[in-house]
């Protein structure tokens, strides 16, 4: 007799989990308590030990799948050679399979009601549904994981009116899709293959870090009033100084332009507290931070993360170089603790490392400003009527116009530039 292992509720009231890694293959002999897979819920990433010993006759999930609690993840054979009984149909994934025939709005309810046995909804929504005499299972959930929300009930009560049905009716006939795409992009993450009316597609569910980035960015973009102030710092002198210093110290620790930018920003922030603050909309107040914790946006294997250098204004140039080095090491080994990513008051993003001069960085909520660096390059400049070659570093400061104004942003940027352009200034502070 085959035995099925269904995804348990791994936290308290967890509805679904995402499969991070599958640690067993079909046909593997599994010992009791051997780890089957690593999954991530919205509370924690955990490894799941096997409740049975036996042969994994069927592994129903793959990396990247989002699986509902109660779905079969692995079927076990008891190991006596008896074939597993009739295979279960493919478990329903929450990632809705692309419906080729109709607009997604129209397809979703059909697919959802066929798959779902019991609608997910908060108690208050269940109560409201009872009061409204609505069968929750008949409502299309638009909340996370297909949860039915209050709005869903309201729109359901308004009748299956025009919108979705009409959309379905008026949806153009699908384009004939070639059986094999002519071009296949390389290295797509795992997901569900399908097609839309223009061609083949793959739907890839968001992983946890992508979701977090998406939420943070949306929150910042739709609350803060972004203005980006741009300027260019002449770092010719600074670059010479930096090279000399590295030569003198043997490059231990190695000073980069970033080392100096961090120091300049830290010093300038002390004089411009409006940029080392957060905007408290609910409390109708601006919260000025009496500490300066600089976030450094970096590209990691897992996506964008922002490790924080604490009390950066108290660090020497050497200390900053060490801190930056430490961050680089953490990124390389993919090992950083969550507390390393918290408590930032201002962020620097060095997109210039990858190229480009002008950028409009999104503020790292709930901070109020972010400095984006462009790529430094040599440009011809006129100095005292003479043509000169100068090394120019583009600076792009995005700030929240709710909490401060453009003139202040220009002054703040100017202050940063004073250090970068006349590096002897560093000796004063």
């Amino acid at each position: 007799m085959p035995r099925e292992f269904t995804l348990p509720d791994l936290g308290e009231g967890i509805a679904e989990a995402q499969i991070i890694r599958v640690l067993v293959k079909e046909g593997d002999a599994i010992a009791e308590d051997q780890y089957l897979m690593e999954v991530e819920t919205d509370k924690a990433a955990v490894e799941i030990p096997s409740p049975f010993a036996g042969v994994a006759s069927r592994v129903h999930v793959k990396e990247g799948d989002t699986v509902n609690v109660g779905e079969v993840v692995v079927t076990f054979d008891n190991g006596d050679g008896s074939a597993p009984a009739a295979k279960k149909p493919e478990v329903a994934k929450t990632a809705a399979p692309a419906a080729p025939a109709a607009a997604p709005q129209a397809a979703a309810p059909v697919a959802a009601s066929a798959q779902r046995t019991k609608a997910a909804a908060a108690p208050v929504v269940r109560k409201m549904a009872r009061e409204m005499g609505i069968d929750l299972d008949a409502v299309t959930g638009t909340g996370p994981g297909g949860r039915v929300t209050k709005d869903d009930l309201t729109s359901h009560a308004a009748g299956p009116a025009a919108a979705p049905v009409a959309a379905a009716a008026s949806a153009p006939a699908p384009m004939p899709v070639a059986t094999k795409p002519l071009t296949e992009p390389e290295d797509l993450p795992p997901g569900t293959d399908g097609s839309d009316k223009w061609g083949h597609i793959r739907s890839v569910p968001l992983n946890q870090i992508r979701k977090t980035i998406a939420n943070q960015m949306a929150k910042a973009a739709f609350t803060a009033v972004h203005v980006t102030h741009g300027d260019e710092a002449d770092i010719t002198q600074l670059d010479r100084l930096r090279r000399n210093l590295n030569e003198a110290t043997g490059g231990d620790p190695k000073l980069t332009a970033m080392t100096f930018v961090v120091r300049a920003v830290a010093l300038a922030l002390k004089r411009h507290p409006a940029f080392n603050a957060s905007f408290d909309e609910q409390g109708s107040q601006i919260i000025y931070k009496k500490y300066i914790n600089l976030g450094i946006a970096v590209d990691s294997q897992r996506g964008l993360i922002v490790p924080v250098i604490r009390d950066v204004d108290r660090l020497s140039m050497r200390g900053i170089a060490h801190a930056l080095r430490h961050i680089a090491d953490q990124i390389r080994t993919n090992q950083f603790a969550i507390e390393d990513l918290r408590g930032g008051t201002f962020t620097i993003t060095n997109v210039g490392a990858f190229g480009g001069t002008f950028n409009t960085p999104i503020i790292n909520h709930p901070e109020v400003a972010i400095l984006g660096l462009g790529r430094s390059r040599k440009v011809p400049c006129i100095r005292k009527g003479q043509l000169a070659e100068k090394l120019i570093l583009p600076l792009n400061l995005s700030f929240d116009h709710r909490s401060t104004d453009g003139a202040n942003a220009a002054r703040f940027t100017r202050d940063i530039m004073t250090y970068l352009e006349t590096p002897a200034m560093f000796m004063l502070d």
């Binding site: 292992f5 995804l7 509720d9 936290g11 955990v46 799941i48 409740p51 019991k118």
Partner: protein, 365 residues
């Protein structure tokens, strides 16, 4: 009308007998007899292995949320072992070894975490309250029981557990004040494991120690190394004997560390550093106590292995008994509170029965 410092009578002490390496302070060593010393060790190992089993069982969907005790075995096993049969223990939820040494079958504790109310039923003749997850609800209960003892003139004591987070609750202070005011035979035992879910001990209270909170209520406080079974034993023994002799309450703060998650529903890497955990792993109570016992000649490798095997078999047998008794009627939960069910509960029972009918057993939650 002078201004001068006030001196208070209650005293505040710190006690550590066995260091992190298992080296003992000869002058302070209570020189336990071998049976007792090894008994404490055995229950610490049993608590550890059962703990590991429970985490796996939760991940397999066989029990519900579980609160692990890893790292805190010395703190509770060496305290509860002091209690006599007629004494009472009022536990919180991170003291599995305490239940086991008082004779609770292992499967009963599994039943508690599995959501079965039978998991709250103490064996006949055992003076323990069941697991109580609420924070610091234990202190008023323990104080009440101790008051009963005093009224009856019984020469007994109560051991009451809670955590560092519990000390911020009103209940904690009400229980402490009442116990002090009425001079009751109760020992408040706070397992300070440094983390109240994600709130660190430093953020919990401005007090330098938790033990000093006793002074405000007029009795002694003692802070012990909670990963040192000898210190825990000595402090608890003295406090319990004082309580039995009419000396009133004591507050013991056992400084320990939760090496695992708060419960299986959270991810400690999100709020604390691995460096901190690694530091405390080096102070794990089991290896250091084992070293001491081996040095004292009370334990050898063969006995260590035997204990591991015994414990493993005991846990496996309990797991089997737990699995064998899981098919209970969920409707039982309505049956034991009222002689006659109030109308509202009659309706709930009906609704629940219909839900089970509709959705089948076992997936009710």
């Amino acid at each position: 009308m002078p201004r001068k410092p006030i001196t208070v009578k209650p005293k505040l002490e710190y006690l550590s007998i066995l260091d992190g390496e298992g080296k003992v302070d000869e002058k302070l060593d209570p020189k336990l007899d071998a049976d007792l010393a090894v008994k404490i060790y055995r229950f610490m190992v049993l608590a550890r292995r059962m703990d590991e089993r429970c985490i796996n069982m939760q991940r397999q969907g066989r029990i519900g949320t579980y609160g692990p005790c890893r790292g805190q075995e010395a703190a509770h096993c060496a305290a509860s072992v002091v209690m006599e049969k007629e004494d009472w223990i009022v536990p919180a939820f991170r003291e599995p070894g305490s239940f086991f040494m008082r004779g609770w079958p292992l499967e009963t504790i599994l039943r508690f975490w599995g959501g079965y109310e039978e998991g709250c039923q103490p064996p006949e003749g055992v003076n323990d309250l069941p697991i109580a997850v609420p924070i610091a609800s234990q202190t008023p209960h323990a104080t009440g029981i101790a008051w009963g003892m005093k009224i009856r003139g019984a020469k007994q004591a109560v051991l009451c557990y809670c955590g560092d987070g519990g000390t911020s609750e009103g209940d904690f202070h009400e229980g402490m004040n009442f116990a002090g005011a009425f001079d009751l035979p109760v020992v408040f035992f706070v397992q300070n494991n440094h983390w109240a879910i994600s709130i660190p001990r430093e953020a919990q209270t401005r007090s330098e120690t938790i033990a000093q909170k006793a002074i405000a209520y007029g009795f002694d406080g003692i802070q012990v190394d909670g990963n040192d079974p000898l210190a825990v034993y000595v402090a608890t023994k003295e406090a319990v004997e004082k309580a039995r002799a009419g000396g009133g309450p004591t507050l013991i703060e056992a400084v320990t560390y939760r090496l695992s998650m708060h419960t299986t529903a959270d991810d400690p890497t999100k709020y604390r550093s691995q460096a901190e955990v690694t530091k405390w792993e080096k102070l794990d109570p089991i290896p250091r106590y084992q070293k001491y016992l081996v040095k004292r000649g009370m334990l050898d490798q063969q006995t260590i292995d035997e204990i591991e095997e015994d414990v493993k078999a005991e846990v496996a047998a309990a797991e089997e008994r737990y699995e064998a008794a899981r098919d209970v009627d969920p409707l039982d939960c309505f049956d034991y509170m009222y002689t006659e069910l109030p109308q509202e509960l009659v309706e709930q029972r009906q609704e629940f029965a219909e839900a089970i009918e509709r959705e089948g057993h076992g997936h009710g939650h």
